[in-house]
């Protein structure tokens, strides 16, 4: 028996004591500003409550004070890793509200950038999650490829992140000279790189022990909780909005939906890695089939006239002035538009009241909804496995808190 310094004798068994431990909000393994209040019994997690809201910035409220085209940069900053998806959800919803058809070239360009963004998002996820599990080198490999994608974004849009590339009606500019060549070289390299990641991780003994059979939530429970995206597909449900609904150029693309079998963390990893390869295939097909024509709709009531027209056409100048100062008005109505983001169903609800500003912009963010399944994944596992499950859940707290 140990005699502690202060004189009392430890007789009772302390291994079963439940202790409430606060993790976060600032912690590298929370992938953002997420706080977890956990009840621990030794190393086992017995209860876990995610506390969110630390990076809430009131974006949805701010959107109500901006004209429709000025909302785009706001919504991009919600889920800061998949900004093209936020833009597509919002622009698509507004286009459906005003009944604006976007030209085929814009559809294909959007598809290309969305899928590049999906690869980018999965690379960030893979790098940081593997880092959590001790595979530090993965971060550098993933960020090497991510940088090539950001270079492509910069080439087309001028910015590496938050590009504001999608506009209501299409995309702001056509892709520049040399973009296609650079994209093709990326598309040729990416499957090789993914093969390298798989060679590093797929049969890595440490990685397998950390992920196999950990964090299993069955398919029915995930559906009840509204979980979508790779988490749901890893549990064996082949549900993907790109296949289910008809939007952009996806109906013309040939790609597969990777699914898992048991829905553990290893399946989640495998599904996302396989999705990167499928996304590369989509990019390649869209590039091959990229139609000629305008990159943005021609309806001057909603779309800025080309710069060259401003010095020759009075009407263009007037429309340009009206669009930039007041913005376009949208007839009253409401639309919900859901797309498949890297994390699941990203829905955008826009309510128009007839003015030039939206009366409500709401995002159904997949990270926010998916986070509800975290308790099911974490309870009765080890603390270390909880961190692994959190990484595999892949929440982006900017999207959760908005």
């Amino acid at each position: 028996m140990v005699e502690p310094a202060h004189g009392t004798v430890l007789t009772e068994d302390r291994t079963t004591e439940v202790m409430t431990v606060n993790i976060g909000p600032h912690h590298p393994a929370t992938h953002g500003v997420l706080r977890l209040v956990t009840d621990l019994e030794g190393e086992m997690v017995r209860e876990c409550r995610p506390v969110i809201g630390y990076v809430h910035t009131g974006i949805e409220k701010s959107c109500e004070d901006k004209s429709y085209w000025k909302v785009i940069p706001f919504v991009e900053r919600m889920d800061y890793v998949s900004y093209f998806f936020q833009m597509e959800a919002y622009c698509g919803a507004v286009e459906r509200l005003i009944g604006l058809e976007i030209p085929p070239r814009a559809k294909y360009l959007r598809t290309i950038f969305l899928e590049l963004n999906r690869i980018h998002s999965h690379l960030v996820w893979l790098g940081t999650t593997a880092l959590d599990l001790g595979a530090i080198s993965m971060l550098w490999y993933c960020f090497r490829e991510r940088d090539r994608i950001l270079d492509l974004f910069e080439m087309a849009a001028g910015q590496r992140m938050h590009t504001r590339y999608f506009q209501v009606g299409g995309v702001i500019e056509d892709i520049p000279l040399g973009f296609e060549e650079k994209l093709r070289s990326f598309v040729a390299d990416m499957p090789v790189r993914v093969g390298q990641y798989q060679a590093l991780l797929d049969r890595n003994e440490v990685f397998l022990q950390r992920t196999k059979g950990v964090g299993i939530v069955d398919r029915e429970r995930l559906l009840e909780l509204g979980v979508t995206g790779p988490l749901l597909r890893a549990a064996g449900e082949p549900w993907d909005l790109r296949k289910a609904f008809d939007y952009l150029a996806y109906p013309e693309m040939d790609f597969k939906i990777p699914v898992g079998t048991v829905g553990d963390n290893y399946d989640r990893y495998r599904v996302r890695v396989a999705e990167m390869v499928e996304s590369t295939r989509i990019v390649e097909q869209a590039l091959d089939a990229l139609p000629e024509g305008p990159h943005i709709a021609e309806d001057r009531k909603y779309v800025l006239p080309p710069r060259s027209e401003l010095s020759t056409s009075m009407e263009s100048l007037i429309h340009h002035f009206k669009l930039v100062t007041e913005g376009f008005r949208v007839a009253p109505g409401e639309v919900y538009y859901g797309i498949e983001s890297p994390r699941g169903e990203l829905g955008c609800f826009v309510l128009a009241d007839g003015s030039a500003k939206p009366a409500r912009v709401h995002f159904r963010d997949p990270s926010f909804v998916n986070l509800q399944s975290f308790r099911d994944m974490a309870v009765d596992t080890y603390v270390a496995d909880m961190i692994c499950s959190l990484g595999m859940l892949d929440p982006i707290l900017g999207g959760v808190d908005r």
Partner: protein
Amino acid sequence: MPDAPGLELLRGEIERDHPGAVLDTSFDRGQPALIADPAQIIAVLTWLREAPAHRYRFLSSLHAADYYPAEPRFGIHYELLNRDRVERVRVKTMLGDPAVGGPGGKPRTDTPARPQASPPGQDPQPDLPQIDSCVSLFPTANFQEREVFDFFGIVFKGHPDLTRILLPDDYVGWPQRRDFPVGGEPVVFTYNERAHG
């Protein structure tokens, strides 16, 4: 998606089991919506979820919008999805603001920018619109109903833990309401932080 006649058929089927539950339908921009009676919202959602011919078993999104100054002003939207038939249908229900007009309520003369907190010990909720929670039907609604409560002050009766989710627990006011001003927050600078505590 059910088309416009399909939506009317759907309404008829619900009306057979729950007379008066569906007040109206709307088919706008290709998106079908059933406008339900808030008192019977759970009956409508249960019917849509369980009816063998429909089975809208997935709740994609639950969100609210403020139609101010229209009355009833709050709309709650349930985006239901049938994954087998790949069909969406929206159920929408409108709630009035008990704080304004209406039976028992007194008309509001001005619009308070930042409502004051209720005195301690007093139930802060009689002024808030109320609706039944659908968490037992769709567990995914848990966070989303809390979000609606947080931003619109709509009380979901029967919710297991109806607290603020994104805003701080001691926040006062319902910021997504249309009569809540943008930029209504006092900004704390270094020079005035003492004044704000």
